[in-house]
């Protein structure tokens, strides 16, 4: 049996990262849980080779060559600071900006970099950066939001989807909010939109957008917003928003849904109470106690009992499944292993329903059970079993060696083999059904009489088949 502390480390790394390899587990086991959390929250300087050197060798990963999803995936696979990437993914799912409309991946890459830098700071600062982010401004048409004629799109979504949630403000608040954001625009917008129409600008890619405040189209008059009055600018509105309890509750519920357990889809939050109201209260309290500091709320979350007790209560998103599997298989985890095949591999996440940089709408992806459709499940099972079943992959080779070292005798029982293989891919609680299904693979006489106690020769082929089944199981769909 796996010890409780080991199980907890695996759980932490599943949620705050993209799973854990057996070697990483060894290293983490030498630390206390609290120290592990601190390390995740305060990563040391990235050990990545710098981007300009990466792009010299792998020009296709550059934003000008549509390489952003693959580049981001490479960062997630190879990072030593997985929580940083996980938080970027978290915000990407909430402040969901899609290249489908933007058609400018460089600008979207800048937004993701912004999430990396500011994603665990004070929420007020993050919202200001978001409201000045050119990808977001274009995505929600704020360049068309003028004092003479309001475009409410951003004013509405910042309240409905990015901070407070429906039911906590009026239609008038939306209008006043939109007025405060008039003039928050992009530089050279006429020239840029002209360029966007001339879509044939290869080979150098599209020019990146920049934020520009245009006082001439900003509405300087008095506004009444959420019970306060004044000649508010966007900054004032954000300060007011961030002091609302509704905002704290909304962000807390998002964090709970992303890190702790699957909630119902966001549009139902207004009418459906949270799964664990006490947990949300704890996070809301932390939000105010630490003055809207996201990192502090995360610390409270990751060290809470409700987090530690939430194992296997989430369905892995396609990105979590793909990145987690590739980290285990040891593919693309340093720049010498990157080649053009990474594009096809990352596209598998699209096929499963989550295209990085292209959420289906500003509402982001619907998570939890909605990740699982029959077509997507076929892709998930085939993807994981192909990558973990391939002994040419470094990570798989390594897992094989470790299992050989772990199971030293020539023969062990099938039960022991199943447990060892399950643990190697992060499954610590293998259900009886799954174990029986794997037993089914070995249909010799003895299996039928002795079940899991049957002795079996520990050979690479046998281990690989069991590994394939572990990553094809229902347990592997969860984390």
């Amino acid at each position: 049996m796996v010890s409780t502390s080991t199980e907890l480390i695996i759980h932490l790394m599943n949620r705050a990262g993209f799973g854990i390899t057996p070697d990483e587990l060894d290293a983490c086991s030498l630390m206390t849980y609290e120290d592990l959390v601190e390390n995740l929250l305060n990563p040391s300087e990235s050990a990545h080779i710098s981007d300009d050197i990466l792009f010299r060798d792998h020009v296709d990963l550059h934003a000008s060559r549509s390489g952003v999803p693959a580049y981001w995936a490479y960062r997630m696979i190879s990072t030593q600071s997985p929580l940083e990437e996980k938080m970027s993914l978290f915000w990407h799912g909430i402040f969901a900006t899609g290249n489908s409309k933007l058609n400018n991946l460089r600008t979207l890459l800048n937004q993701i970099e912004m999430f990396r830098r500011s994603g665990t700071g004070k929420f007020d600062d993050l919202l200001i950066k978001l409201s000045q982010d050119p990808a977001m401004l274009i995505w929600l048409d704020n360049q068309d939001n003028l004092n003479e004629s309001i475009n409410e799109n951003y004013g509405r979504e910042i309240l409905e989807l990015f901070s407070m949630g429906v039911g906590n403000y009026t239609e008038d608040d939306i209008k006043e909010c939109a007025r405060a954001f008039t003039g928050w625009s992009v530089a050279n917008s006429e020239y840029m939109s002209l360029m966007a129409q001339k879509d044939s600008i290869w080979p150098y890619g599209r020019i990146v957008w920049h934020y520009d405040f245009k006082p001439g189209i900003h509405d300087v008059d008095n506004k009444e917003f959420l019970g306060e009055a004044g000649p508010f600018n966007g900054d004032d509105v954000i300060r007011i928003i961030c002091n609302q309890e509704a905002t704290a509750r909304f962000i807390a519920r998002h964090m709970y849904n992303f890190f702790v357990a699957d909630e119902v889809p966001v549009p139902q939050w207004k009418d459906t109470p949270p799964k664990d109201p006490a947990a949300i209260d704890t996070l809301v309290e932390a939000y105010f106690k630490y003055e809207h500091d996201i990192k502090s709320v995360l610390r409270v979350l990751l060290t809470s009992d409700f987090f530690k007790e939430s194992r296997y209560q989430k369905i892995k998103s396609p990105v979590e499944l793909v990145i987690g599997t590739l980290r285990l298989s040891g593919e693309y985890n340093d720049d010498s292993k990157v080649d053009s095949s990474i594009f096809g591999v990352i596209a598998e996440s699209d096929y499963m329903g989550q295209a990085l940089c292209n959420p289906p709408s500003v509402e982001g992806w619907h998570t939890g059970e909605e990740w699982i459709s029959s077509g997507a499940l076929v892709d998930r099972v085939n993807f994981a079993s192909q990558h973990i079943g391939n002994p040419d992959n470094d990570g798989v080779k390594h897992i094989l060696n470790r299992i050989h070292a772990d199971l030293k005798n020539d023969t062990h029982t099938i039960g022991e083999l199943i447990e060892s293989c399950g643990n190697s891919v992060g499954i610590t609680r293998i259900s009886g059904d799954t174990a029986d299904g794997v037993l089914d693979l070995f249909t010799q006489e003895e299996v039928q009489t002795n079940g899991q106690d049957t002795d079996i020769a520990i050979e690479d082929g046998t281990i690989l088949r069991v590994l394939e089944f572990m990553v094809s199981s229902r347990e592997y769909q969860l984390c």
Partner: protein, 381 residues
């Protein structure tokens, strides 16, 4: 006695990348065409004439044959207000039927939900290719996505029939057991069993199929063959989806466009021949579309993204002919250098929904749109 009504099937062929409409149905009778197109053009004597103004690109010979038999509706000037020239966005607009906001579900997904509201048929909609086009996505609608029909399903890499059977039986044991106290695990289990069932049914199709038609060895022809195999097996699939490309001909257009259209047109011609052989010609409708057309003026050897496209609807019961006016090439009539659309693509969806699939057109096409006469209204007896 009530005659048994055969279910009607819909086949979507997406020309991805933006097909050059101007060089597909060519206004060879308009001198302006040759003025704008100095290089990327088809000379008059090579055009397959429709009338004294329009004609097909010679690569569309097979479609021209179907046209001569009055089985092709050509819809000119297809588009939507405020055309978007980004591939992704425009494909999304076509897929969801939503051109202003961001659509939640696909038009074919909505049609399938109307046809099979409880999602009982795991293969009512099948995509041939990778992933799931958004057109087919809709909550609660199971859809299969097949890249290789003969090897479709779980564990395609496991070699040997016996090994694969063992693996599938183990999978069904793992996913089939109740795990009674856990709803999520049960849901995943049910989905796994659906996937397995769908794959089992689909995989039987090729063995039942025989045909005198020989499809070419290129992706679109092979996809159309797979569609024919599933369709003739009569296993309950109503909507088929596939795509071919890339029609994104910024450069060297004449060669690429000819190759892609020869492949597509021949594949459709062979498919219709196959349907005829199986007496299904009147039960199948093929819609061919592309996310946008291309610029009127060429950029030397290629063309850039434009608007205003051409769509084809092909089938045994189609009222063949030209639908919609061909957009004018006069500079004053152009839309920022593009053909001006005069037919909303959702009119096509609306027509197909009501007159072919027999479902509520406003749900499928996302609103009310004037219908075309390329299919006669369904007769309700």
């Amino acid at each position: 006695m009530v005659a048994e009504v055969k279910p009607r099937s819909l086949v979507i062929v997406q020309l991805s990348g933006g097909n050059d409409a101007l060089n597909t149905v060519i206004p060879y009778g308009d001198g302006l065409y040759y003025d704008w197109r100095k290089e990327v053009r088809i000379e008059q004597d090579r055009v397959l004439k429709i009338n004294n103004h329009l004609g097909f690109n010679p690569a569309l010979r097979s479609i021209k044959n179907l046209w001569d038999n009055e089985k092709v509706a050509v819809i000119n000037g297809v588009g939507y207000p405020e055309p978007n020239r980004s591939h992704f966005r425009s494909i999304d607009i076509w897929n969801t039927g939503e051109s202003v906001g961001i659509g939640e579900s696909g038009w074919l997904g909505r049609a399938l939900r109307e046809i099979d509201p409880n999602g009982e048929n795991p293969i009512a909609g099948v995509n041939f290719g990778k992933g799931l086009p958004r057109a087919l996505s809709c909550k609660g609608v199971p859809v299969a996505s097949v890249s290789d029909l003969e090897n479709y399903g779980l564990f395609p890499d496991i070699q040997g029939e016996r090994s694969r059977d063992l693996a599938l039986s183990a999978f069904s044991q793992i996913y089939g057991s109740a795990m009674a106290h856990d709803n999520v695990a049960q849901f995943i289990g049910q989905t796994g069993i659906d996937a397995l069932k769908g794959a089992d049914i689909l995989r039987t199709a090729p063995a039942q199929y025989s045909s005198a038609v020989e499809y070419a060895n290129n992706p679109i022809a092979q996809s159309m063959k797979s569609i024919a195999q599933v369709l003739t097996a009569d296993i309950g699939t109503r909507v088929f989806y596939t795509q071919h490309g890339s029609f994104d001909t910024h450069a060297a257009e004449l060669d690429t466009h000819t190759k892609l259209w020869t492949e597509t047109s021949d594949a459709i011609g062979d498919f219709m021949e196959d349907m005829k052989e199986h007496n299904l010609e009147d039960d199948v409708l093929v819609l061919v579309w592309s996310e946008f057309g291309r610029r009127i003026k060429d950029n030397s050897a290629g063309t850039d993204h434009g608007s205003g496209g051409t769509a084809f609807v092909i089938g045994g019961t189609v009222n063949g002919g030209l639908y919609g006016d061909y957009p004018s090439l006069k500079e004053t009539d152009q839309l920022e250098g593009d053909l001006h659309f005069n037919n909303d693509f959702r009119s096509i969806y609306s027509t197909i929904a009501e007159r072919w699939l027999g479902v509520d057109p406003s749900i499928v096409s996302n609103g009310y749109f004037e219908q075309h006469e390329f299919i006669s209204p369904l007769a309700y007896n």
